[in-house]
Point group: none
DNA sequence: AATGAATGAGAATTCATTCAT
DNA sequence: CATGAATGAATTCTCATTCAT
């Protein structure tokens, strides 16, 4: 006893998952170029060699991280059961979820930025992500249709554009919280500031979709 | 005699400007960590030593680039003379300008992202940028006030939040054009797609500010 | 039950032989430093651990391969029954055999080169190989003696030098077929080129040993 | 004074040459895979970074070394002025030169082996080497022609094959001196052994080319 | 002021070998 | 006997920065 734990458990899946989690954190913090393989290895509890064994290099590991990040958020969205809610409630729930998810998984935002810096080359042609995305947009389209048929939503709203806007108004605020904080001169991350922004965003989206926003 | 022309006798200001321009391109393309001092030097027409002479290293050069990028957009906004336009026209003009600027100077978006990845440490405490930003928000606040007093805008709209949203809906679309293109399955950058998005954004902002959007 | 078939229950000798064969190929292709233990394991059908079990590491495995390679060619030479042939026929047969063996077992040449790069440290002091070599040279010496006594060979030919020359004129041509091909500008390995070289070599050796070559 | 010399002289050509010389030694000693960039750098007096600056990596450095090695021997051969000698003298001189060169520049042999291990991929298509080689073979062909016309050489000797054989009988002996030493049981590198081999080789070539060897 | 050769620290990647099952 | 996950020590390569001219 007291002997140092020389090898980690021979559990490949756990090792892979640990590396992936550690990589997500590091890539989110530093970007693809700034991330250090050494750090990822160290913080994963595994060692550098395992990264090459399981992921075959930094670049591929980044691909796995980005893929995983997108799959995760799309998976969570599917669990919202938006189709069981009234149209307006469904849209509001989506706005709240999106906002909460960005707050809960802040890595997502910087990973998306990194991938865009690299012109999405790590996910271009990814069939799974394409499919998940389609399911998501179709969900929103269905809500819009229900709302329109119920006479509460404006007709002809483009589901894709709405999805983008819902993401945009949360994403931008949180992504740019550091520079905006410095420029605007107030903290973007206090409880009050966050609550104010969420309300503003809900309002923005309500006015965008409702036929008669003032009645709301 | 017969000696090769070793120096370029251009004026210091031009050399500095060339380096800055080259650095903007490179930092925008690759981020702070991914950018290469060698490349910046090469493409600036100057040489590496000059970067150290004028900017004292990569990190400081990045600071100069980011500072310059923010000053530039704020400067351009000031030239819009929004105070001379009707409130709704002024807001629409701002939405269009913001969109056009992102398209015209695409480096701006990735530079902002990079600076946020680094938690704005290069511009924190920058008085000039703070001042320029304040002038900008004050401008928008003045428009809102005029609109409210004219009975066309809703009362109580938060100018800062509006500024953020105007930026957000353009910024997000263009920033994420690569990943979104891959996920949604259509090109975000065709003339038509860009026009559609701008219209959607104008609509979003109009509905957000107008007291009676349906009348518009 | 339902347990996956994990082991291969083959006999130890077969496993050893498989590893040795795989190692011969890999060492011949890449040299000692360039060879990869992983590749040897993979292509042997066994696994890396077995290499350490049976051969105790890469270096020792190389030793086994080289030893085996020399033993193999010397063994084949013994089967030629040169003593049953007329002197000139015997020598010609040896020239042909040497040439054919290099063609049939091309690994032999690069293994010999590798071992020489390492200054023969894997076979220095090897009694078996020394003994086999002696038997070989003695065979040639006996042929020379018979030829001399029969009045067809020149007297005083050094058997060791002759052995070396017989090997040299085939070995060099085949060993350097790539560089020579590039430099001379013709392919060394076409059927015609090979036949031409063999004839030239036979001629060379005949002229070297015969008392009256022009009579041949 | 007494200050340590921090930087080497700013003489690019000297630096390049030093690296090349150091690389030649290391590649000759260990092959491409076994050679260590660190060692090359250290022994060159330059540093690792310079290798990448001037040669752009290990593989390219190897290419430069091999190219240089071939160019050097062909260059030396041109200086023999074989056309000014009697045919037999010319051929003998070439045999001696080849032998002496292998002894004087032992790196040549192992470099050639290494390049052949890699299937000549570093020199394939090299026009300069092809040209130098052609000049060399043409020289030998001219000697053969002169000898034939003078009635001292056999007619119809293939110049390329002769070149190969002249190289082979020296190359093989010296290349395999370690393994052959171990197998034959005598040292290949004593003064006497070397002299004996050279005589044997001269004899071999004389008998190969002369119309009436016994008269010689 | 301008140049570009030179450098050391560090980063990604590879590899033979050992350990737990 | 057999397996393949795990490891640490090298090894190749990169990069911002400094120095001599």
């Amino acid at each position: 006893m007291g002997q140092k734990m020389a090898f980690r458990p021979r559990d490949p899946e756990a090792t892979k998952a640990d590396i992936l989690a550690s990589a997500r954190t590091e890539f989110a913090k530093a970007g693809l170029a700034g991330a250090r393989v050494d750090k990822i290895a160290e913080q994963s509890g595994a060692n550098k060699r395992m990264i090459y064994h399981y992921f075959d290099g930094k670049e591929n590991l980044f691909t796995a991280v980005v893929e995983d990040a997108y799959a995760a958020i799309r998976g969570r969205e599917q669990q919202l059961h938006l189709d069981e809610l009234e149209p307006l409630e469904a849209i509001e729930r989506l706005v709240r979820f999106t906002w909460d998810y960005y707050l809960e998984v802040p890595e997502f935002i910087t990973l998306v930025n990194s991938e865009n810096l690299h012109q999405a080359r790590h996910i271009v042609g990814n069939k799974l992500l394409r499919k998940l995305q389609k399911a998501y947009v179709d969900n929103v389209a269905a809500i819009l249709k229900r709302g329109e048929e119920a006479g509460v939503f404006r007709p002809g709203i483009d589901a894709a554009q709405l999805c983008i806007t819902i993401a945009a108004i949360g994403f931008y605020y949180l992504n740019n919280r550091y520079t905006s904080g410095a420029l605007f001169g107030f903290s973007f991350m206090t409880k009050e500031a966050l609550a104010r922004r969420l309300e503003f965003n809900l309002d923005t989206i309500r006015r965008l979709v409702l036929l008669r926003p003032e009645a709301a």
